[in-house]
């Protein structure tokens, strides 16, 4: 890793979930986490499991057990007030894949589209940042991507309500210019959700790609072209494969939170842009249905796990090749 990045990571990860997530994704790509462990020293110490015990216990109680409970609740019937009761049933899964499948597919589709848009915008942007010659310019370029993310996610999403609303800035400007006479319906659409999601997760794409471009040796490009490859071929056969780990990590980091998005569709989507996260949330209100909400979250988890698997295998193939 470039020394600049290393320095950057040491200074800033402290403040940014994003960088931390990205760093973790990078490490996860390397096999088995042995990156962390200096094996040589490991042998000279006792096993150390006692030290891990309190944390493991905490995670078992507050992370694993709740997930198990969700799984169990998702198989139970709905009782009075939306709580779970016996007997066991699969009806909530039937409904999830039945009448709610449209929302499930919409969530997956929107998340996929978000990933594609982020990739199309983020890949050239990452290249732009990492090919700045002067370090200070590079730092500023990177900083400008990260700085907006020091603001609370809610406020960043709310800003789009101002822009997209019927009486919002975009409609106001278009009307002043005489382009439209009636306001365009921008807010409370799937388009608004897409914009909000791209806005929310773009850096998750830019940073991993930036890291792999930083490691990319541009002499390979010269070599490919000396050997007669044209630009398209050079890009497809040399540049893209070598920056693929960053692309994969970025896609996973954008897709996963997008599938489970709750705030963005809640503030920008209205009923047209309802996503699975909102549906789950609705099951926990007064007229809710806890088992159904649990089934929905289990299915969502399944989607997330599946995409993680794709990421891990894709990465392994990349590094193995």
């Amino acid at each position: 890793m470039a020394s600049f990045l290393a320095r950057w990571m040491r200074g800033i990860p402290a403040y940014n979930k994003l960088l931390c997530v990205w760093w973790l994704a990078q490490v996860a790509g390397k096999k088995g986490g042995s990156f962390f462990v200096s094996r040589w020293f490991r042998r000279s110490q006792k096993d150390g499991s006692l030290l891990a015990l309190p944390t493991v216990a905490w995670l078992l109680v507050f992370f694993v057990l709740p997930l198990v409970i969700v799984l169990v609740v998702s198989l139970m019937s709905r009782g009075r007030g939306g709580v779970a009761q016996l007997p066991l049933t699969l009806q909530h899964y039937e409904r999830t894949f039945g009448i709610f499948s449209i929302i499930l597919w919409r969530s997956i589709g929107l998340a996929g589209l978000t990933t594609v848009v982020c990739l199309l915008v983020g890949y050239p942007l990452a290249f732009f940042i990492s090919t700045r010659r002067r370090r200070i310019v590079q730092q500023i370029a990177l900083f400008l991507v990260i700085l907006p993310f020091w603001t609370n996610f809610l406020i960043r999403t709310y800003a789009w309500r101002i822009l997209l609303g019927d009486e919002g800035t975009i409609n106001g400007v278009l009307r002043a210019l005489g382009v439209i006479s009636e306001p365009l319906q921008l807010l409370n659409t799937q388009f608004a959700v897409l914009v909000g999601l791209v806005y929310g997760f773009l850096p998750f794409m830019v940073l991993p790609i930036f890291a792999s471009v930083e490691r990319f040796n541009f002499r390979y490009v010269d070599a490919a072209q000396d050997l007669g490859a044209n630009e398209t071929r050079t890009f497809l056969r040399v540049v893209l494969p070598l920056t693929m780990p960053g692309v994969l990590a970025g896609c996973a980091l954008v897709f996963i939170p997008s599938v489970g998005a709750f705030v963005t569709p809640d503030l920008l989507g209205g009923t047209k842009g309802l996503m699975i996260g909102n549906l789950i949330n609705n099951q926990f209100g007064g007229s809710g249905n806890m088992p159904l909400g649990s089934a929905l979250s289990i299915v969502m988890m399944g989607v997330v796990m599946l995409s993680l698997l794709v990421y891990v295998f894709g990465n392994r193939r990349q590094t193995g090749a």
């Binding site: 962390f36 096993d47 944390t55 050239p124 609370n152 960043r156 926990f284």
Partner: protein, 298 residues
């Protein structure tokens, strides 16, 4: 000139045009991207100074929305009061402090155990630590909400005592998602550290306890502090998980802000958002500067 050469010439010309178009696209991309990233924030700030209530056009500069907040005169339709907001902020600080303390201790311990220990199930544990970072927040929020409900029902059944969600549930939830982040940051620090230093200490007769407090801990301290700061900011910033695990009267700042934002767009909300943006940027800037000084002295 042969026909073949002409075709080549043509293809070359087309290629050149595509190339030029591509270059233009690559040139425009950063401009568009930066505009996209910054426009919403700038618009938000701009309209917090707008004279009219509209966010469609800027009619003139005013500070009245800010003074409205300070003087507690906000439109009847909004659920805002300065006192409520400050109270929510205090709640956030309270939750953040306690959750950070617990998560930092637990996260540092697991990081040490993972990096220096060797026991069965380490790889499984790796996955367990990795999961809270990657799964969508709403899943964790829902599972914790159900878990607390079930647990409180059981407590009621067994002891007759009624327990309600409140600060304790928020803190437990925050600790749970923060552990992983602290562990990551501390492990990064441990990976950077020269392990021979620890060996030297034990060669010189220090017992493991002494080795830890005299050698390891001072060396990983910056990592621990960085992890704690990360946990604190994540805790202050968290909305989804807090929203699902908080009870009556334990509103944190993000949950309070959410309540405001769900209502219509009002200039006061823009002003509050601007203040919050300024504060968080300032806070991060200061801690960055402090940390920067800390590392340069080393």
């Amino acid at each position: 000139m042969s026909a073949q050469a002409l075709v080549n010439e043509k293809a070359l010309g087309r290629n050149r045009r595509i190339k030029r178009l591509g270059k233009l696209g690559l040139l425009l991309n950063p401009l568009v991207a930066y505009f996209f990233l910054w426009a919403p924030i700038l618009v938000l700030v701009l309209f917090s100074f707008n004279q009219s209530k509209s966010v469609a056009s800027f009619t003139g500069f005013t500070l009245k929305w800010y003074s409205n907040i300070l003087n507690n005169v906000v439109g009847a339709e909004s659920a805002f009061s300065t006192e409520l907001m400050l109270n929510a902020f205090r709640n956030s600080l309270f939750v953040g402090t306690i959750a950070t303390a617990i998560a930092t201790a637990l996260g540092t311990m697991i990081a040490l155990a993972m990096a220096r220990g060797s026991f069965p199930g380490q790889r499984l544990l790796d996955g367990l630590l990795f999961l809270p970072v990657v799964i969508p927040e709403i899943t964790q929020a829902i599972s914790l909400a159900i878990f607390f409900k079930v647990a409180f029902d059981w407590i009621h059944l067994l002891s007759g005592e009624r327990v309600f969600p409140g600060f304790h549930t928020i803190i437990m939830a925050h600790v749970t998602f923060n552990i992983s982040y602290v562990a990551i940051v501390v492990r990064a620090r441990l990976a950077d550290m020269d392990p021979t230093l620890e060996e030297a200490a034990s060669d010189l007769g220090a017992n493991p306890w002494q080795t830890f407090w005299r050698v390891t801990f001072p060396l990983i301290l910056p990592g621990v502090i960085a992890g704690a700061l990360l946990a604190f900011t994540l805790s202050l910033d968290d909305f989804v998980i807090t929203f699902f695990t908080s009870g009556v009267g334990t509103t944190t700042l993000p949950v309070f802000v959410y309540g405001l934002l769900k209502l219509t767009v009002t200039p006061e909300v823009n002003a509050i958002s601007t203040i919050m943006m300024l504060l968080s940027t300032l806070l991060i800037g200061i801690s960055l500067a402090l940390q920067g000084r800390g590392t340069s002295q080393r």
